[in-house]
Each structure stands twice: as structure tokens, then as C-alpha cells.
């Protein structure tokens, strides 16, 4: 075999591990029907942990590309690989505890989870438009099936149908945009696309085509990150999907979408590599993303105000958070990029934590309606306090993790003379306080419905451990702030060819 490919394979161990685990889990699921519940879980857990362990040494590796410029090996890619594998691992631990998932055959769930993880990891490091599109489709197609996992439930099926139709059109439009970009530059490699545009591929009349191509490509990124105007699927899919899948979609594929969005715009469409990125005069993509960011956070927050279903409310809240994260992208400075990474870390813990509480409450009450959270304070003080902390953190109240994410994003905007933008973001956070605080009020203050008193909720020890695993980082992230600062500031390097 070609020695270069053999050498590249050594930096590809996490992906190889994930693929091998995926195949092994399918085989075990078929071959050992009696012990498959436990063994498939165990194998998936070991595979994900092994992939994570193999990711860490790559931090020290030299930046470059693998397989003739198909995927990048740089600190940013490695950071996202680690982040995404950790997300999948947490979902793997949460899923068996949910009554929704347990109704169906769970082996397939693990297979799909591994498939999405592999796709996300490739998406975060793809530097070729072909690889990027294939990885994006791998994530999308597997997650359509995950959303429709409860095949006998009408809502789950409907959610997966809507997700599929919306996803197919968004990714189809993105592909059309990619072909236009290929037509302009004659290459599919991001680094070469940038060179071609520097040498005038987007000058004159071609500038308009470049802009149209970018808008089409933005459809795919917008779909993955659930940004306006490609967010319509989000509330319906989050409501209809099994809750562990909702939790997964709100963190994993969204983060992978941001990873690839950053890579596309920064290595493909920026005119300078280095400390401050610029955009080509022909196409002001930063303005485009800035407008999307403002509309996304405002619409997400306003639509969340009148939601009665907690899953739906968290869906709109996740749209709003996508807007805040995009804010870090358009600042175009290393500080902005770092703020994106910090925000994603804090978002992982607080959002997954909130969904875990939703899962626990659903296991007892069978409902996602906010009204059924009345009297939760009496039934389970622990769950109430946990949910209160997650909600305060999502609001951005210090000293919880969410505050630091917002602090970094707004700080990056202010430092780049976009103070008005930060003010808009802060005003949005004020709107958001209303609907998060409403959850806290419903749990603690609102009177329970008349009649039969619901019994207290007791959690299993696994749920306790998982809940604490989310609570501690949410409440105590600032204790490790040096470490997070160090990791994120080392991770913002992108490969520029």
C-alpha cells in the first residue's frame, strides 16, 4: 500500500475504532440474542472510550491533512472529536434509563448512535467539500432513523418524516451550492478554493455567483445548527423524537455543524489566515452570518415564551443558543473562536442536564407538559434543585457555567467593536429569563392539582450518578477555569494549507 496512506492511517485511529465498534455491535446484536442487551451496551461504551483515549495523543500531532487533503488534522478538529465522542458517551449512558427507548429493541439504537458519532467526527475534520458533504449526509441519514426510532408511535414517525423532508431539501440545496462553488474554482478542497478566490475566481460578475453559492451552502449548515431560516424542523422534531435522541440532537450534531461551519468559512472563504480573519470584498459572508445570528436568537427566545411543552420550549431555547454561538463566529478573531468552544462546553453540560431531568420526570409521569411539573418540589427536591441550577445556567446567571459561555461570547464581540451586537445578545438573555424562570416557578411555587397526591419520586443510583456528573460541571466549572482556558486557547488553530 501507498506509504503515505499507511502513515495517515495512524492519525485515524479514533475513526477506525468507531467503525470497528459499529460493525462489532451489529454482529453481536444478531449473533447473541440472549445476552445482547448487556453486551451491545458494553461494547459501545468500550469503543467510545477507546476512541476518546486515542484522540488525546493527536493534540500533540503536527497540523496537516490526511488522505491527500480529505480530512484535516489540527487542534480544532481534535478538540471537536473529543467533544463529540464525550457527548455520544453521555447519551449512551442516559439512553437505557429512558422508558421511551426501552420499549424498542435497543441494540439498533447503539448502532445508530455509533454511526452518527462517526459521521460527526468526520464532519468536524473534513477539509474537502466531498468529504464534508458525505459526512454531513452520514450524520443526517442516521439521525432521521434515530428520530423515528419509536416505530409504533405516531409522533415519533411524524417527527422523523418532517426531519427527513427538511433535511433532504436543505442538504440538496447545499449540494447545489457546492457544485456552483466547484464550477467557480475547479476544486473541492477548501484550501484550494481559498487560493482560487484570492486569484480572482470570484471577481466581477462571478461575485454574484459566489454569493449565491454561499447562501445555498449556508442552508446545509443552518439545518445542522438549527439557525433561522432553516430551523422549522427543530421544535417538531425535538418534541416528537425520543427524549435521549432530542438531547443528543441538541448538542452533538449541532456542535458538529458549528465545527464544519467554522472550517468552511475560515479556511475556505477568508482572505487572510492568522490572527484576524477577513472576507473577500466580493462576498461579505460575515454580514450574512451576523444577520442570521441576530434573527436566530431573537426568534428562538420570543417563540419559547409561549410554550407549554417543556421539550418544545427547550427546542426554541436551543435555537436561541445557536444564535449566541454564531455571534462568536462572526467576530472573526481568535477570541471569538475561543468563545465558541467555551460556549459549547458549557452548553453540553447544562443542556444535557436539563434533558436528563425531563427524562426522569417523564419516566414517572408520562408527560412533557409544564403543568405536570407542578408539585415537583414536594415529590423530589433533588430533581427540582437540579433543574433549577440547569435553568439558571441556561439563563446565564453567575456563578453557573452558562454565564461564562455568554461572558466570553459577548466579551469577544465588545473587543471587536461590535458592542451593539453584544447589547442585542444581552437583551435577548433578558427575554430568556422569563421562560426559564417560569419552569422554576412551576416546580416550586405553583399549587398542585386538586385530588390524588402524586407519590414522591425516587431515583435509581445510576440516575443519581449521571445527574451529579452534569450538576458538578454546571455549578463548579469556574473552579477549573484555568484548564478550560488553556484547552480552548490551544484548540483554535486551524489548518490553512
Amino acid at each position: 500500500m501507498n506509504p503515505q496512506i499507511l502513515k495517515d492511517l495512524q492519525a485515524f485511529y479514533p475513526e477506525i475504532t468507531l467503525t470497528a465498534t459499529l460493525l462489532a455491535v451489529i454482529l453481536i446484536d444478531l449473533a447473541a440474542p440472549r445476552i445482547r442487551q448487556a453486551t451491545t451496551f458494553l461494547f459501545t461504551a468500550i469503543g467510545l472510550l477507546l476512541a476518546l483515549a486515542l484522540t488525546f495523543p493527536l493534540f500533540a500531532a503536527k497540523s496537516g491533512t490526511l488522505f491527500y487533503g480529505m480530512v484535516a488534522l489540527d487542534p480544532m478538529a481534535v478538540f471537536f472529536k473529543g467533544f463529540l465522542i464525550i457527548t455520544s458517551f453521555l447519551i449512551l449512558l442516559v439512553a437505557p434509563g429512558s422508558k421511551e427507548i426501552a420499549k424498542e429493541h435497543i441494540g439498533e439504537f447503539y448502532t445508530l448512535l455509533l454511526g452518527v458519532t462517526l459521521g460527526m467526527v468526520l464532519l468536524a475534520s473534513a477539509t474537502d467539500m466531498l468529504m464534508l458533504f458525505l459526512a454531513l449526509e452520514m450524520v443526517s441519514v442516521s439521525s432521521y432513523i434515530m428520530v423515528g426510532y419509536l416505530s409504533t408511535e405516531r409522533q415519533s414517525n411524524e417527527a422523523s418524516l418532517k426531519y427527513f423532508l427538511f433535511g433532504a431539501v436543505s442538504t440538496g440545496s447545499m449540494l447545489y451550492g457546492i457544485t456552483l462553488l466547484f464550477g467557480l474554482t475547479g476544486t473541492t478542497k477548501l484550501v484550494l478554493i481559498r487560493e482560487a478566490i484570492i486569484h480572482g475566481a470570484g471577481d466581477g460578475n462571478n461575485g454574484l455567483m459566489l454569493l449565491i453559492a454561499t447562501i445555498f451552502i449556508m442552508a446545509g449548515f443552518g439545518f445542522k445548527t438549527a439557525s433561522v431560516p432553516f430551523h422549522f424542523w427543530c421544535p417538531d422534531v425535538y418534541t416528537g423524537a425520543p427524549t435521549p435522541v432530542t438531547a443528543f440532537l441538541s448538542v452533538g450534531p449541532k456542535a458538529a455543524g458549528f465545527a464544519t461551519l467554522i472550517r468552511f468559512f475560515f479556511t475556505g472563504l477568508s482572505d487572510t489566515a492568522g490572527s484576524i480573519w477577513g472576507f473577500f470584498p466580493a462576498m461579505n459572508w460575515a454580514l450574512l452570518v451576523l444577520m442570521i445570528s441576530i434573527i436566530t436568537m431573537t426568534l428562538g427566545n420570543i417563540a419559547a415564551l409561549r410554550q407549554e411543552n417543556l421539550k418544545r420550549m427547550l427546542a426554541y431555547s436551543s435555537i436561541a443558543h445557536a444564535g449566541y454561538i454564531l455571534m462568536g463566529v462572526v467576530v472573526l478573531t481568535p477570541q471569538g473562536l475561543q468563545s465558541v468552544l467555551v460556549y459549547l462546553i458549557t452548553y453540553l453540560f447544562m443542556n444535557l442536564g436539563a434533558f436528563m431531568v425531563v427524562i426522569e420526570v417523564y419516566n414517572r409521569t408520562g408527560s412533557f407538559e409544564l403543568n405536570d411539573y407542578r408539585g415537583l418540589w414536594r415529590r423530589s427536591p433533588f430533581l427540582t434543585i437540579a433543574m433549577t441550577i440547569f435553568m439558571l445556567s441556561l439563563m446565564g446567571i453567575p456563578p453557573f457555567a452558562g454565564f461564562f459561555g455568554k461572558l466570553y461570547v459577548f466579551g469577544a464581540a465588545v473587543n471587536h467593536n461590535l458592542a451593539w451586537f453584544a447589547v442585542l445578545g444581552a437583551l435577548n438573555s433578558v427575554i430568556a429569563v422569563y421562560y426559564y424562570a417560569r419552569v422554576i416557578k412551576t416546580m416550586i411555587i405553583d399549587a398542585e392539582p386538586e385530588g390524588a397526591q402524586a407519590p414522591p419520586i425516587s431515583l435509581s443510583w445510576t440516575s443519581h450518578i449521571l445527574m451529579w456528573a452534569m450538576l458538578l460541571p454546571t455549578a463548579g466549572l469556574m473552579l477549573f477555569w484555568d484548564r478550560i482556558q488553556e484547552i480552548t486557547s490551544n484548540s483554535i488553530t486551524l489548518f490553512f494549507g
Partner: protein
């Protein structure tokens, strides 16, 4: 003489027809056909650019992958529609209206 622009016009027309089919059709299978039109318009673009503008094989290589992706997407899409038919005894998209708000 048929040139690049002819292909681009046809592909733009196909793309628009695909989007129109997705937007207006009530039958889920027809919508899936619209999605195929969108993907194939991109394929036409790729092959035309590859042949007329750049004289390289990158675009045609890309098109082969897109065909595979289209097949995978259609398989999943049909499976979802089939499961919808089993639950609702219909493939009319207007019947999928339980999630709102």
C-alpha cells in the same frame, strides 16, 4: 453547438422543479421524487463543469458519490413513508399534523 450554459440552464430548471415539487405536493412519494430531482440537478452541474470548464475528473468522481448518497437517502425516506403508511393508512402529508405550536 451545445455548451456549458445549456447544461447549467437545464440543471437550474431541474432544481427549481424539484423545490416546487417538495413545496406543493401532498403525496409523500411525490415529494421524495422532488428530492431526487434536486440531487440530480447538482449531478448535472458537476459533470458539466467538470467536462466544459475545468477538464478534470473531480466533478465526475463527486457525481458518483452523490448517486450513492441519493440512493441511501431514498431508502431511508421510503422506509419512513412506509412506516407512516402503516400507522395512518395514508401517505398524505396533511395527515401528519399532530406536532404544532
Amino acid at each position: 453547438m451545445i455548451g456549458l450554459s445549456h447544461y447549467l440552464i437545464i440543471s437550474a430548471a431541474l432544481f427549481s422543479l424539484g423545490i416546487m415539487a417538495v413545496m406543493t405536493r401532498k403525496n409523500a412519494v411525490n415529494v421524495l421524487m422532488g428530492v431526487e430531482l434536486i440531487l440530480n440537478s447538482a449531478n448535472l452541474n458537476l459533470v458539466a463543469f467538470s467536462r466544459y470548464a475545468w477538464m478534470n475528473l473531480d466533478g465526475q468522481l463527486y457525481a458518483v458519490f452523490v448517486i450513492v448518497i441519493a440512493a441511501a437517502e431514498a431508502a431511508v425516506g421510503l422506509a419512513i413513508v412506509l412506516s407512516m403508511y402503516r400507522l395512518l393508512k395514508s401517505v398524505n402529508l396533511d395527515k401528519a399534523d399532530t406536532l404544532k405550536g
